[in-house]
Symmetry: C2
Subunit: 497 residues, 2 copies
Amino acid sequence: MLWSMPAIPQRLTRKEYDARVPKLREDLVQLQVQLKESPFKILLIIAGYEGAGRGEVINTLSGWLDPRGVETFAFQEPTDEERERPFMWRFWRSLPTCGRIGIYAGSWYTEALREETFSRITAGEISKELERIQHFEKLLADNGTLIVKVWLHLSKVAQRDRLHALESNPDTAWRVTPEHWYHFRNYDRIARAARRILRSTNQPSAPWTVIDAEHERTRNAAVAKLILTRFRAHCRKHKATTKNLRMAAKPLQPAGLKRLQALPLTQSLSALEYEQKREKWLGRLNQAVRAAHAAHRSVIFVFEGWDAAGKGGAIRRLTSAIDARHYRVIPVAKPTDEEKAHHYLWRFWRHVPRAGMVTIYDRSWYGRVLVERLEGFASTAEWRRAYGEINDFERQIASHGTIVVKFWLQISKDEQLRRFREREATPYKLHKINAEDWRNRRKWAGYEAAVGDMLALTDSSFAPWQLIAANDKRYARLSILKTASKQIEASLGTSIV
Amino acid sequence: MLWSMPAIPQRLTRKEYDARVPKLREDLVQLQVQLKESPFKILLIIAGYEGAGRGEVINTLSGWLDPRGVETFAFQEPTDEERERPFMWRFWRSLPTCGRIGIYAGSWYTEALREETFSRITAGEISKELERIQHFEKLLADNGTLIVKVWLHLSKVAQRDRLHALESNPDTAWRVTPEHWYHFRNYDRIARAARRILRSTNQPSAPWTVIDAEHERTRNAAVAKLILTRFRAHCRKHKATTKNLRMAAKPLQPAGLKRLQALPLTQSLSALEYEQKREKWLGRLNQAVRAAHAAHRSVIFVFEGWDAAGKGGAIRRLTSAIDARHYRVIPVAKPTDEEKAHHYLWRFWRHVPRAGMVTIYDRSWYGRVLVERLEGFASTAEWRRAYGEINDFERQIASHGTIVVKFWLQISKDEQLRRFREREATPYKLHKINAEDWRNRRKWAGYEAAVGDMLALTDSSFAPWQLIAANDKRYARLSILKTASKQIEASLGTSIV
């Protein structure tokens, strides 16, 4: 249907419209009742020419829908909190929760359209931007989101007539601004840009629909009808996801598992050696992080590792080298209900640091391909898809200038047993061990396969995995300080070695 | 205990400290286990002189506590999203949820201390700022929050020695910055300012404790001990809240009820009259809101009223006059679990608009003194306290320049019955009516008393109540457009009448 203008539809007379609206309203509200109980959301993007009535369509729909289940978004100039984070952050933070409708008056297309129209950026840059949009929409659609994208079409003549009509009525004249006429003068450029952008973002999971906006009543009814049609098709398509725990426990990429198992775990440091070297590396890390801060570069640390591998202790040593005003530790436990009502990456996007700040994730998005894979919380399709989604997420952060340091803390199965027993015997460590830890331990081989795949499939130049031999806590802590310092220095191009 | 220096405590030797720490850690973790199940949070504010070891205390405590239940906060320069909202917004957004500990390296005291020390603002301004802090802490404490405020004391000589010691060791020299020495040179001024600020914010519900920070081990142990002591006392004090539904249904302030009942409800507008006037007032409201936007003044609309009073319809007419990019409707329904784990005002603070933007609350914080009062969701003490808390909240918003327009949509009991029946008979309106609406209706007299009290006790010059006769929908909608336009114009001093 894209861009092939639909055959001029029968224009609805006032009488036909009035007769049709009550049923449309009833159907829309029924849709919302059904949606409310569904594990997905609807994103409705209303784009189109100036004067095509984007605002009116949105106001009309808002009047028909139950407003308690709808949020309308528009985007001004990015705030400094937004500018200091990857471009898509502002859209991630705006996403409605499952069961709700988000209506986008402005969206991730607004900037792309403007830039494409006025050639403000190069063709390469615009391709990248469109690719980012494609990935974003695919990621949400893969997760069940229904994405309805509408382009309100208006011929050049119709645009002029619409603006004139509004202007000549003293009661509506305020609706027309000089910006509208500027757009009119650039109609052809905008049309060309829109055609290119719509074509390249017209994906099966997020198709565009062009709606003729010349006739207001017909336009409103068409948008409502489209939402209803797409929703019904979406519900039919929605299949049960399959879980295959047998497959979850087998490696996809044996190379990763080999790399993990090849890591020597016998290195250790005496208390004296550790004391001697610690302050030096704390100082060096402090300098590296301060240099990053001064350069407005953020740092994200990801700590993953076996239960009892020493993540908490390592994080506390690491943070002791960083100004308390500059870092934040995000302990990742069970998601809240707001988090559960979003895509699994939402809760991590939420905490992406501002320019110059440090975020330390104590466990992370890798839960998707570790615990969620092994326990069947994610279907086979979901966790297999996650490697690509995660790479894409990290690429976006890294492209923004953020330094991504990822640690896997590796211990042997015997060492874990020793630590579990120690925890059980030490009153103030007792809270760190529970039945779940023992259950996870029994699935060691399965987790090992999953860790191996993670190492093989998400080890990128922009976010490499750092394997840390952690059987000896002092050795591990010092390795982490060293590795962190060196990776940050290398990223800044300021290695002092 | 405030500012009377505690008798110099026995300094803990390394051996004594090492012997004591395991028990402290165990007790702290036990505290967290108990806190996790409690309906309150702990805020720990660590203030004090430079070099007194605020960062070290926080790092030590973070090492002793289970980091999954702790969040540490520090505050940089406010971001533009923060600057464009009332001062306390950034602290509201930082508050941890119930069951957790928030550690504040910087806090709402940081700015006050700096301003008081260097006399950057007038005595009147500083008093207002301290009053705001008192209100904020009292509000949280009244709601059950345990607030522990620590001032780490260091004599001038001790401060100098500490800085010298750090500087002379090449491994720790990086910890000392020119700012530290600047503070040392201003020791006396800072001491005087701190004394004044601590005295005037030393409330029974949020007392200060001064801890001698000269000896590091003793200092660390003292802070940990203080948290434990305060937590135990807090748990003992925590009584069951009383609910008295009989009292909830009786008016506190009959004047408000009289005002409500005196409102004539017979006015109406013909369809023709409404059509004639609507566009004019929509245009005028549009101009008023655009003028507010241009002046970076925000507008908050509060819509309250009986079930079926026509809030939704009135909001849709109102928003049709506002640029979709500038407003946001917040429908207030059941709180999410993140919201439930906060003070009841948190979910409203969350949506306070940026400069120049409009937020429309479809129901609001007044739920506290309406439904929560009548249904016993809030105890008698809680809803009675709420009038003052709400006035304080609205004063803060209004002082920041936000225009607060509050509507109560009044209909008669008969009119409500008619609308309920109509809703039940109209398929697309059926979702708007349920058993709860009928239940609320049976409590009409009680709700009327509560509405009266609300009108009497929260009708302020900075956030006045606008009573709207809403038996006739057209009349109500036009009244709302008129009232909104006029209040905004008056606030801007740009009335065009």
